[in-house]
Amino acid sequence: MLRYILSRFGQSLLLLLIVSFIGFAVLNLAPGGPLSQFALSPGMTQEQIDKIAAQMGLDRPLIVQYFDWLRHMLVGDWGTSYRDGQPVLHVIGSHLFATLLLMGTATSISITLGSTIGIFSALRRRSVFDYAMTVASMVALSIPTFWFGLIAIYIFALNLGWLPAGNMYTVGDGSVLNYLKHLIMPACVLALVDVAVWSRYMRTSTLNVINQDFVRTARAKGLTRRRVLFKHIVGNSLVPMITLAGLQLPMVLGGALVTETVFTWPGMGRLFLDSLGYSDYPVVMGLLMASAMLVLIGNLAADIAVALIDPRIALE
């Protein structure tokens, strides 16, 4: 087991190295590059730009710059924001909680709702409910998240006035209830796509478990349907879902970015867009790396969790 965990850990590190190189190359090879913001300011001559580039070490070969940057990354020096001179890691850290809160809530909703729909679809296979959910999930996958957010705001905030249209809390009101009121709409909007994906996979997974021998044995020895469902089927069909939760992370994170924009939620997605607007290159780079790291850590955690639940996987 330890060997499996270590090898998965090693693979993740290798992948992170490739990811960092791709991210670095993408932003540095793009026309304009990190200094494009200076080229825009009037009165700036090419000579001055070259001087700044030399000062910041941007005139060196890309591969030298990469290793230099990587060395700094490893010791926690992710550079300073062009906008306010704060350390990048600090800027990202101060936006991390809001994003994790949003993603965590959305994922809880999608796991609960999606699994329930998936199990019922599998139990009543080829029923009207099953077909309706198949079509509904495909439509849900096709709705742009930001548009769904706009429609939700239109209905629940502007017309019904039940929920606030944006932000994380009302200034001057720090109560939990106030946070919850602000959280519920963006979390549900973000969860929509995930519920669709989750219910599809849960349906397949449950169908796989239902046809296994141990389920038939459990029924044959006289257990009630309900007992078999909760004790034998649900638990076993949830195991592959842990991997799915890891694989869905990039999509949820990307969805969080647009959801945060629509709901003016002060998380990493909003920070990313603001930084792009200011050409705040170190923060953009840092966020790109942080999001990829979050995805890799999530996948690693999911793989280890599955291996701990089902030790056969570690032996393969």
């Binding site: 494009s36 096709s142 992370l249 990039p250 790109l288």
Partner: protein
């Protein structure tokens, strides 16, 4: 010719391909096809049937609600006809979607077939690059790319392709790996055919089913991604309309002119749903054929 007349007469079905017949009898796929064709027709023929040009500014008719003054979907803050703008935007958005399908499917197929055919170190390296690209949330990567380039429709299509080729590569790689050791590939080897011939003339045609399925889903994904980045202001730039950038300013008028948000979003949803339905139908069509054999 003579041989054909001597064989016992077998009633030929109207459509010979079993996959195509399965596809045509797939209800959802037909609904999807109808949605996509209808929308395509509206976008390319619609502008000629409307009384207003998409650039005509009529400040007296600002924020006209749908159905008033000959504006079937109303007007925008400048009094331009939303229907005309929507159809022109559709031409751009769908063109981007199809361009991405072609680029991403080609790149993905090449990477997949090379990786699957050669295996070993080449495969290990290529598939790790695929994994690395999949680790970035595609919207993040896409925005980072889009912010630093000249955002014309062609470049937008290229960068969306850069974040959409990995799934195809994975699918083709898996398919080619399973085909590699079959007899017809061994036979091609013994005939002394080149690696390139075997990859592109023998292996790739046999993986065409999954590739077509992935291609139709890629169109859906590309239309959605274009909408995301254009909505956020980094995609197709006005005055060139796209479904995404029509929604760009819609949020501030949500209370006074909700149709500005509702109509383009519905168009996107219909298009993407259509392609997803078609993809589902294609998957069933190719799957069933495989089971029948």
């Amino acid at each position: 010719m003579t041989a054909a007349t001597t064989t016992p007469p077998v009633r030929q079905p109207l459509i010979k391909s079993r996959a195509l017949r399965r596809f045509l009898s797939h209800k959802l796929a037909m609904i999807g096809l109808f949605m996509v064709l209808g929308l395509t027709f509206a976008c390319f023929v619609g502008p000629y049937l409307l009384p207003y040009d998409e650039l005509y500014i009529d400040l007296r008719a600002r924020f006209a609600p749908p159905g008033t003054g000959g504006h079937i979907f109303g007007t925008d803050p400048l009094g331009r006809d939303l229907a005309a703008r929507l159809f022109h935007a559709g031409q751009i958005s769908m063109a981007v979607g199809f361009a991405v399908m072609v680029i991403a499917t080609t790149v993905g197929s090449v990477v997949g077939v090379v990786s699957g055919y050669y295996g070993g170190k080449i495969s290990a390296v290529l598939m790790r690059v695929v994994d690395a690209f999949l680790s970035f949330p595609s919207v993040f990567l896409l925005l980072a790319l889009a912010a630093f380039i000249q955002p014309g429709p062609v470049m937008i299509a290229v960068i969306i392709s850069a974040t959409s080729w990995m799934e195809v590569a994975r699918i083709v790689e898996a398919e080619v790996k399973s085909l590699r050791n079959q007899d017809f590939v061994q036979a091609a080897h013994m005939l002394g055919l080149s690696g390139r011939w075997i990859m592109f003339r023998e292996l790739l045609p046999n993986a065409i089913g999954p590739i077509i399925v992935a291609a139709s889903l890629t169109v859906a994904r590309a239309i959605l991604l274009e909408a995301y980045i254009s909505f956020l202001g980094y995609g197709i730039q006005p005055p060139l309309p796209s479904w995404g950038n029509l929604l760009n300013g819609a949020q501030q008028y949500l209370g006074s002119a909700p149709w500005l948000a509702i109509v383009p979003g519905l168009a996107i949803t219909i298009a993407v749903t259509g392609f997803n339905f078609i993809g589902d139908g294609l998957r069933d069509a190719f799957d069933s054929r495989a089971q029948g054999q």
